[in-house]
Symmetry: C2
Subunit: 691 residues, 2 copies
């Protein structure tokens, strides 16, 4: 859904990204029919337009040079292995410096003509025709200006130029970041922890939003009492702030995790949570804005409006999810049934266009493009990726990697810039301190209780150390910023924006710099091979000792993940994968016999060739949880919750003809066990060799 | 220079590419200070804004689906080896179909509010403040509307949405196309024919522009006589049309050449000409627009204004060239002196940003961004490319390949669309027929005389067949379209735009489809190994028989290319390459001894390692013309004008310590000869083995 938030700020730099200065060029050549204007006047307006175009170029150039500088410094930091400051923190610092220069170093000239007033009827038109000495000019509405600020319209020209339309973030910069997150998801570890990730992302974000919202409402009440508040600040505003600030973005932490090869499960939890809670936060904030109680008392609680908001949340979320999944599936089908992979350029272009169309489709249908793009990315990675040629695989990965990198660094340097160039900051110390406490409490109230509840069901317990690390890693980044800048029209929203900016700065610098010390302080192991398992030590995972009989354990296992999960796995493995990709068992064996013709049409010939050779992606995909090992191992495994390296090891255990999903799973696990023994790692029990 | 052309059309789709619907959203939330507007009113404007956003998404989605469809059909065509229709022609057809649907299939609703008129002083303001029942709204000037068309403002909403701001072409779509052209230039063949290419591009385009302009002026006079012309059409307009339509774009022909591996020299001539004459045409059209005679008689000839225009041409061209070269050199230096190549992602991002900044820098300085980007591309390919890591090389190539592909197909499908959605077409049969004849004559008057003159100096004569093929391949494409759509404000420009569109359609379809038959009809050989030479038959090159003494021949050779060319080669080889890249001879040997310290600093350690192993790019670069073989061969070569395959063959003849440019050249040529003999190809004379 297009957020019904509207910002009142002028969007002067919006067309700048295009450098399509045309949109900013105010004066035009006189029409062919007329041709009566004097050449001098025409020349003057043309000069003006050219000047404006030049300024646009200069301000965009500023950003590009900023990014170039950031890249060079990033290189220097990587080269010298500096870890106390991450590249995003660096981008912010450079942004800050340029912001200071622009704010205090450029003259405050006015680029506006003297404003002209004329009275109109009761409602503003979007288009205005103005008669100037016989010639007609068309004007379009830009926005309302509060009466007290009419004279502030004449502001620093350069500052206006470097101020982007907030929608740029949602429509240009976030989509590649989010898509890349979905596309580069390490599926195996993600799906292994899917339950917990979903819990953290949905329940956790809701809890955090609610707690922060209520705490901030208390702070606002307090501010009113001591006279610190000069304008209205409603309860819904507080809740909106809760939603905005609940989107965590541990890009710094994850980068360091990646570099140090920290524990993969912790990585999966953090990454999965942050990816999904971005989506949740967007939809949540839309729903809160959609919460408009009817009747007189517009800011009290209204059950009907509340349930409508919940409905909006569910509707938008599932709609966006569907959109993303559907485009992904369509792309998979197209790449499967054409021989497009002979032409990697065409394939890559198609992939790019289809992924972009998800965004547009969702926006056109009134859903949230960014959320749709996330699920599209996941679907593309899970299905389409299998059908791509080798060259296209690396091309698409690299393309989105570059886009992601540029967009992310741009956002962070823009944040630094915005601290000085944004003209309507409202820094309220009480509110800021309150917000810091609130996000701390909100994060704590979400991580610890949820982890406790999850640990009741999980076999891989989330240890205290992990919980502390997750608590510590709850930094705020691009998404919180983009949500906050989206609407800075009212007093309350301006205060929220300024506070969000400070929170992002603080968390990125402090938490980003403290990650490495924190990791060692919490004894979280580093240098892990991502294809390997966590060790069975109590440090990182509190291993559940096998204290019950096998049957009981099996039951619990089934309760935990076997039910929904195995259903999905078998459906995916037996039907979706064979239909959408060149892998999986042939449909002729999985579908009932009366579907024979369809099955033969849909199954690609490759499947028969490599019937048993599940693709890397396939075995990567799924769980292979210790739980399932217990269920299917038929051995006296002492349940260390390990899952073994499955990547491309399935071909180890020979070819079979029957290929049900049960067997596929078993085989996956068997192969894993086999692999584990053959490597002589930590398992201490006799293993049945499945090969 | 930002073209001083201004278009009067509304730029409604400009921000659409961003999907930053904000720019189109007319109504805004009321300010925090006020808060007095009723919720109902706010809701209504918000609904409107959302509707507008949705329409934007839909229209952009239309284009994406169009492109997707084009890609799939391209695949089908490639798969079935259909050659009568090229992908660009296909994109146009799909565009046409969608244009027809949009034009006749959508209801003609009005998206505008009822226009409001109010009188103003003598000059339009760029910003307007309007008082609507106590609240102030800001409006910006969009453009003038000719009095007769006030009621036409209410037009089909969907058609308005799919109409792009012409500046989008110059600022978004052309740069990647042109950069890719420069970056993917096959340098060896390009430089081998550099003289001819420059002659065709500069002299040829000027001749063609002048001839077409004058012919069209005759046509216009004729139309005035028979009463076919209903508005003004000046001589400068005719010249502008000449400049617009002189930009050839044989993308179709080149694609087929590439596929069939047609003669490499013909390819180089066509490709080089079209790349450079795009640049020439842009600058030429700017200069013609800048031709504004002073005084009363504003459309007669004025010597001062003419020379000013020539000065503008030279200034813009050389300025843009410098900008492009400088950014390329800076990128080369940065990539050389940092170890950025350890991080391909950073390297690619830097490369992309630097290349983009060329465009902005040129625009900011008042030069032409597109031209700067072309020379930046060539410089990047010549120097920076050598410093990149292997991964970055493929990444950058692929990135720009995808961008180029998407942009090009987008432009061509937009062209198809524009035939029906553009609302101000003026099709004048006389003018159109005149234009077709004029471009035919203009092309003929440029190819045949120039080829004759060039053949006087060239050793590789350009045969008649080649001349006919070049004549035939003079199709018009993206650049002509972009130049024509840039200004459609006046009657004459609208007529020029409609005619250009038809010329593009006709040439792309007919010429594109006729390339393969034409190639075989003209006996131009296909299936050529690009690293090999043209055969010494009279078919493709009229070999100059060795009819004079060696000294005379040597003199002529020196006259032809040795002078400026050898100067440049030795400068590039001895100083630029070693300074900017990791290849070439160490500066310590080429610079005078008193520069020792600087030389040592600038020479990269790699150079000493592979001192003699000139990189592939290096030997690829230069001439190695038959002429020079004659000069340096010291043998009784019967001068067949062949240059032998030099690609990476220089390492054949062992290591030497002295490394002057003379020797490098000699070695290149020697190696080539060696290689040629060892392959046992067409050379029939005894060869001195240089190894």
């Amino acid at each position: 859904m297009a957020l019904p938030l509207r910002r009142r700020r002028l969007p002067p730099l919006l067309p700048l990204l295009l450098l399509a200065a045309g949109g900013l060029r105010a004066a035009e050549r006189s029409g062919g029919g007329g041709g009566s204007s004097s050449a001098m006047e025409e020349l003057a307006t043309e000069k003006e337009a050219e000047e404006s175009h030049r300024q646009d170029s200069v301000s965009l150039l500023t950003f590009i040079l900023l990014l170039t500088l950031t890249i060079l410094t990033i290189w220097l930091f990587k080269h010298r292995r500096v870890r106390f400051l991450h590249e995003t923190g660096l981008a912010m610092i450079y942004g800050l410096i340029v912001g200071v220069i622009l704010r205090y170093g450029t003259p405050s000239t006015s680029g506006h003509d003297k404003p002209f007033s004329c009275s109109q009827e009761d409602r503003p038109f979007t288009t205005l025709l103005v008669n100037v000495s016989g010639k007609f000019f068309e004007y379009t509405l830009k926005g309302e200006i509060s009466p007290g600020k009419i004279h502030n319209v004449e502001q620093n020209d350069m500052l206006r130029k470097v101020t982007f339309d907030p929608e740029v973030f949602f429509n240009i910069l976030l989509p590649p970041i989010i898509f890349h997150a979905g596309y580069s998801l390490k599926k195996r570890h993600f799906f292994r922890n899917l339950g917990s990730i979903l819990a953290y992302a949905f329940l956790g974000t809701a809890v955090s939003c609610f707690i922060i919202g209520n705490l901030m409402y208390g702070v606002v009440k307090l501010m009113k009492l001591v006279g610190q508040l000069s304008d209205k600040f409603y309860y819904t505003d507080c809740l909106l702030f809760g939603a905005i600030i609940s989107a965590t973005d541990p890009v710094t932490v994850l980068a360091i995790f990646n570099e140090l090869h920290a524990d993969v499960d912790l990585y999966a939890l953090l990454f999965g949570e942050s990816v999904l809670n971005d989506a949740v936060a967007i939809v949540l904030s839309s729903s809160i804005v959609a919460y408009q109680p009817t009747g007189e008392n517009t800011h009290a609680f209204d059950a009907a409006a509340f349930f409508k908001s919940v409905g909006v949340f569910l509707g938008i979320f599932s709609g966006s999810f569907m959109m993303g999944a559907v485009t992904g599936v369509v792309t998979a089908l197209v790449t499967k049934f054409t021989k497009l992979h002979c032409f990697p350029l065409l394939e890559t272009a198609l992939f790019f266009l289809m992924s972009w169309s998800t965004f547009l489709l969702a926006e056109a249908c009134g859903f949230t493009g960014v959320v749709a793009v996330l699920f599209c990315g996941i679907t593309q990675a899970h299905y389409t990726y299998n059908n791509l040629s080798v060259e296209s695989r690396s091309r698409t990965k690299q393309l989105f990697e570059v886009l992601h990198f540029l967009a992310e660094n741009f956002i962070f340097s823009y944040m630094g810039l915005a601290l000085f160039t944004f003209q309507k900051h409202i820094f309220s110390p009480v509110f800021i301190i309150g917000a810091f406490i609130a996000i701390f409490l909100g994060r704590a109230a979400h991580i610890y209780p949820l982890s406790f509840l999850l640990n009741l069901g999980r076999r891989h317990k989330i240890s205290w150390n992990f919980q502390h690390m997750m608590m510590f890693s709850g930094l705020r980044g691009a998404m919180a910023f983009a949500l906050a800048i989206r609407d800075t029209a009212t007093y309350s929203h301006q205060m929220m924006f300024s506070t969000t900016l400070l929170i992002v700065f603080f968390t990125v610098w402090i938490v980003g710099g403290g990650t490495t010390p924190m990791l060692s302080w919490l004894n979280i192991r580093v240098g892990v091979d991502p294809d390997q398992d966590p060790p069975p030590t109590n440090d990182s995972f509190q291993v559940l000792q096998g204290d019950g009989p096998d049957s009981e354990r099996r039951n619990r296992t089934k309760q935990e993940s076997a039910w929904l999960f195995r259903l999905w796995y078998s459906f995916d493995h037996n039907y979706l994968k064979p239909i959408l990709t060149h892998s999986g068992p042939p449909l002729t064996t999985t579908l009932p016999s009366w579907c024979g013709l369809i099955a033969r049409c849909l199954t690609s010939p490759q499947v028969y060739d490599n019937q048993e050779q599940l693709r890397e992606e396939d075995s990567d995909f799924i769980l292979n949880d210790g739980d399932l090992t217990v269920t299917y191992g038929d051995t006296t495994i002492t349940a260390n919750g390990s899952s073994g390296p499955h990547t491309a090891t399935t071909s180890l255990d020979g070819r079979r003809t029957k290929s049900s999903s049960e067997e596929a799973l078993e085989r996956d696990l068997g192969a894993a066990d086999h692999e584990v023994t053959s490597r002589g790692t930590r398992l201490v029990f006799p293993l049945e060799d499945n090969a």
